[in-house]
Amino acid sequence: MSDWIRVCALDEIAPQGSRVVASSQGNIAIFRTADDAVFGLHDKCPHKGGPLSQGIVHGETVTCPLHGFKIGLKDGAAVAPDKGCARRFAVKAEGGAVWLQLN
């Protein structure tokens, strides 16, 4: 397991919003929910690769902007009956900042 890397201040992500992080492992979407939980997913929808970071966040789910797959932020899995899974990244909010761990 690699180290925690600081991404940005928590305030730099809107509640129910997201930011894109460019990394050596591709683009990662960092989401912040209405109650300030943070999650990280590979920014590629399991359907046709849509940028999940651009979707609408509701509860602990994001709806892909291209064709409306709903993806669980916790597990990256598409909500049934859709199928597929986006890769997860460990993310935490601590001391007012957001941290990411690359796999």
């Binding site: 129910q16 992080v21 990394s23 609408i56 789910t61």
Partner: protein, 833 residues
């Protein structure tokens, strides 16, 4: 099987023990009620189900395709045993409940098994009616109700030749068709003068008979059976009629009607009258006992199709879950025969009678018959044969009781008589081969849809959309998908309620109710609205949040704050997202006019940011496609320096005002259409609306700006302007309707502004003006915008108020760091090891 461990018998009010719900009848209605209950209150009850059949819950209506050899029993199971286990439901299969002890509150099965209940749900279905004639108990004489009957029929078809089906209704014909397909020689015997007399009028029934005869079925109408005759083997061998005629029969299927299963309820002295009598909350005369399904009589009616039973199940679950708000007020029925290749549909009161009018289209040679029954400007019934494309639409009109005064003269030609695109003009589901593409957006074929419906036990359009994606994008194939659904599940299909359809899964309230509450209660934020309206999800979904955001900012301009996180990405990023995640940029060109310096600035941007595609849009302006999100603010800064602002090509907002050259240059022009167009577009800049809004201004009736298919179309004539509204050039072409004639440019602004403000205040989210006007009626619009000058002025002023001080969103993103953040990618400082 599955014996349960008894919990100590406490009163339900005691803590620590969940109340017990016992369900008698493991069929379609009972289990649907349990499913609905689990959705509302998953942990409220300890649930136990008794089923007399030795199977888990299956899709009874698909026994017909099983008999026809199109499916197997495994295919039609709706809830496998695992489902019961997963939901902690105790299941007794093969166990018939024979007694209800209402004092001790327990049920007792024939083998002595007992279960106590706090709530009891009776869903015992019905039993086939067996004609009281000699020989009705001979081997080879059966009814058609369950898996056992179906297996017997399949076995008989393999070894015997002559089948007789008594009863020419829905069930009888499906049985006859199946047996014929399995190689038997089949005769249908019917007491009445025509087939399916409860669903069809004579004309349609005669056409049906002719086409079934062409498939090799034989019919004996107006024949009364007197006796069944035993052969030497002991099995039935013939059937004799009252008139003495005898025909051979090695298999006799009785499909002469059903009787509600009320014996159990009656033995417990529950009031029954042609079914177990229930009130609008599905409660019997004993308040602890509910009943749903074919065993029930509600307001004197016992239903024999799945759709109403599902409605009952939903209401019942609502009360079992202690919500206590739902009511069942009866159902309008529709029917579809599930015989592959035959298109037949009926709904409502199709026989007409006192006080009704009929519109009939009869083309026996072409195999098409349609009858519409009208009463006081509403459609009350329909029969369609041969072309059922509009069945769902008619059914919807019947159910909604919608006023059809304005569409009466073209009602018969259906909803899709003009303009539908996207599936090669195909509108008849039954004749489509399995590999025909139905949904052009998502590439879904008919076969995929049928397979999904059968494999997953789907009953509604929403479910089909979820599972297959068919008709979930542009929606132009909705009618076709509805037809496929209807022909696969028969009368089990009901179109969604358009009138009080809930906004989405997050709420039971409709768009109309929510809009009204926002206005009446002066609600200003999304969380406040969700709390007041008792939303079921903590923060809504991608479908309700954008709608709520729009309702709030349009109802309370200047007070409600826009919530970017509740906007679809295009509106949040002020550009159109592309399939590869890049964006497109369309600067506004007022009225379609541009200048050399604007064009130069566009060319420079295209060079500087290596824009891969530059194209003219269908809206008469330039599109720069394939720009990286990070570059958007830079592109906008450059365009802004040349005086250009957002074209809102991405928004549910004002899009374009197309113009022709008009009196400024054209030899025919009567009005200065370019100038008028620019005035309108400047006036409407920044207008958010339920859906996008497009205008056009033409300088004369040659109409080179195509004003006839715009939300607002303006046509210059010698004495002024003609105004047209509610046109649409998209998925379904709709010709705009004449609103009124006006004289001056100022009046064009006032009238079109007032119309658009009315639409902004009353339209439901994602409703284009054509849908809005179809819903409220053009008369309603005219009353507010044309006939009432005071109202018109008020509307117009409210529009101008809402639009004042609107700033170009592109420049905001350029200038405000907090807004700009949306476009920035974070680059990690990774330590490479």
């Amino acid at each position: 099987m599955n014996a349960r461990i008894e919990a100590a018998p406490l009163d339900e009010h005691h803590s620590g023990r969940r109340p017990k719900l016992v369900v008698v009848g493991n069929g379609m209605a009972g289990i649907r009620a349990v499913e609905e209950l689990l959705k509302l209150a998953p942990d409220l009850y300890d649930i136990t189900v008794f089923g007399a059949e030795p199977h888990p819950n299956y899709n009874r209506i698909l026994l017909s395709p099983v008999l026809a050899g199109e499916m197997t029993i495994q295919d039609i199971v709706l809830n496998p045993l695992q489902w019961y286990a997963d939901n902690n439901i105790g299941l007794y299969t093969g166990k018939t409940v024979t007694k209800i002890d209402r004092t001790a509150r327990k049920v007792i099965a024939s083998d002595g098994t007992e279960e106590e209940y706090d709530r009891l749900l009776l869903a015992t279905g019905s039993t086939p009616f067996i004609l009281p004639i000699p020989g009705n108990d001979l081997p080879g004489v059966i009814s058609y109700r369950d898996i056992k009957d179906t297996d017997e029929m399949i076995a008989a078809a393999a070894t015997h030749k002559h089948a007789v089906v008594i009863g020419g209704g829905l069930l009888g014909l499906e049985a006859a068709n199946g047996l014929k397909l399995r190689g038997m020689d089949v005769t249908v015997v019917h007491l009445m003068p025509w087939l399916m007399e409860r669903q069809l009028d004579k004309a349609a029934a005669d056409m049906l008979k002719t086409s079934l005869e062409a498939r090799g079925l034989k019919f004996l109408l107006e024949k009364q059976t007197e006796a069944l005759i035993q052969g030497e083997s002991g099995r039935v061998c013939a059937l004799r009629f009252k008139d003495g005629l005898e025909i051979p029969a090695d298999l006799v299927v009785m499909a002469a009607g059903i009787r509600p299963n009320t014996a159990l309820a009656e033995s417990a002295r529950l009031y029954c009258n042609r079914g177990i009598v229930v009130n609008d909350t599905m409660q019997t005369y004993d308040p602890r006992i509910y009943a749903v399904g074919e065993c029930v009589a509600h307001r004197g009616i016992a239903y024999g199709l799945v759709a109403p039973l599902f409605e009952q199940a939903k209401v019942c679950a609502n009360h079992l879950a202690n919500f206590g708000i739902a009511r069942y007020s009866g159902s309008v029925l529709s029917t579809k025969l599930k015989v592959t290749g035959i298109d037949l549909f009926s709904a409502g009161n199709f026989m007409g009678g006192e006080g009704t009018d009929e519109i009939v289209l009869n083309d026996p040679a072409g195999g098409v018959y349609k009858k519409l029954v009208l009463k006081n400007d509403t459609l009350v019934g329909a029969v369609l044969y041969g072309d059922t494309a509009d069945g769902a639409w008619y059914f919807q009109l019947v159910k909604d009781g919608q006023n059809i005064h304005e569409i009466r003269d073209h009602l018969m030609f259906g909803q899709n008589h003009v303009g539908d695109v996207g599936h090669a003009g195909k509108t008849h589901a039954a004749t489509l081969p399995d590999d025909a593409q139905v949904c052009g957006c998502n590439g879904v074929c008919k076969g995929d849809i049928v397979k999904a419906i059968k494999a997953n036990g789907l009953f509604t359009l929403d479910e089909v959309r979820k599972h297959t994606k068919a008709s979930s994008s542009c929606g132009s194939c909705t009618g076709l998908v509805e037809q496929i659904l209807a022909s696969t599940v028969g009368g089990a299909y009901t179109p969604a309620d358009t009138k009080d359809k809930p906004m989405c899964g997050c709420t039971d309230h409709s768009h109309g109710v929510v809009r009204q509450a926002i206005r009446d209660q002066h609600l200003l934020t999304i969380p406040e609205t969700m709390q007041y309206m008792e939303w079921k999800t903590p923060s809504g979904c991608a479908s309700c949040r954008p709608a709520l955001n729009y309702y709030l900012i349009s109802t309370w301009p200047g007070e409600a704050r826009d919530d970017p996180q509740s906007r679809f990405i295009n509106e949040r990023a002020h550009a159109n997202i592309q399939k590869d995640g890049t964006y497109s940029v369309v600067p506004r060109m007022w009225g379609g006019l541009t200048t050399p310096s604007e064009l130069r600035a566009i060319a420079d941007v295209a060079d500087k940011y290596q824009v891969p595609t530059v194209k003219m849009t269908g809206g008469a302006r330039v599109d720069l496609l394939g720009i990286r999100k990070e570059d958007l603010p830079k592109v906008w800064a450059d365009l802004g320096r040349a005086g250009m602002v957002s074209g809102h090509a991405y928004g549910k907002s004002i899009r374009t005002v197309k113009t022709c050259v008009g009196a400024e240059h054209c030899r025919f022009g009567t009005q200065k259409s370019m100038a008028m167009g620019v005035k309108l577009e400047r006036m409407l800049f920044g207008m958010w609306s339920p859906h996008k809004v497009k205008l056009a201004v033409s300088g004369c009736p040659r109409n080179c700006a195509e004003a006839g298919i715009k939300d607002v179309g303006v046509i210059g004539v010698d004495a002024g302007y003609e105004l047209y509204v509610a046109g649409n050039g998209g998925i379904k072409t709709e010709v705009a309707q004449f609103l009124c004639k006006v004289k001056t440019d100022e009046e064009v602004k006032e009238y079109s502004g007032a119309f658009l403000q009315l639409y902004r205040e009353e339209g439901y989210y994602l409703e284009r003006t054509c849908h809005y006007v179809a819903r409220v009626g053009l008369d309603h619009v005219k009353a507010a915008v044309v006939d009432d000058p005071v109202k018109r002025k008020e509307l117009y002023e409210r529009l101008l108020f809402a639009l004042q001080d609107y700033e170009d969103p592109w420049q905001q993103a350029v200038q405000q760091p907090a807004v700009r953040r949306e476009y920035q990618v974070i680059r990690l400082e990774e330590v490479t090891t």
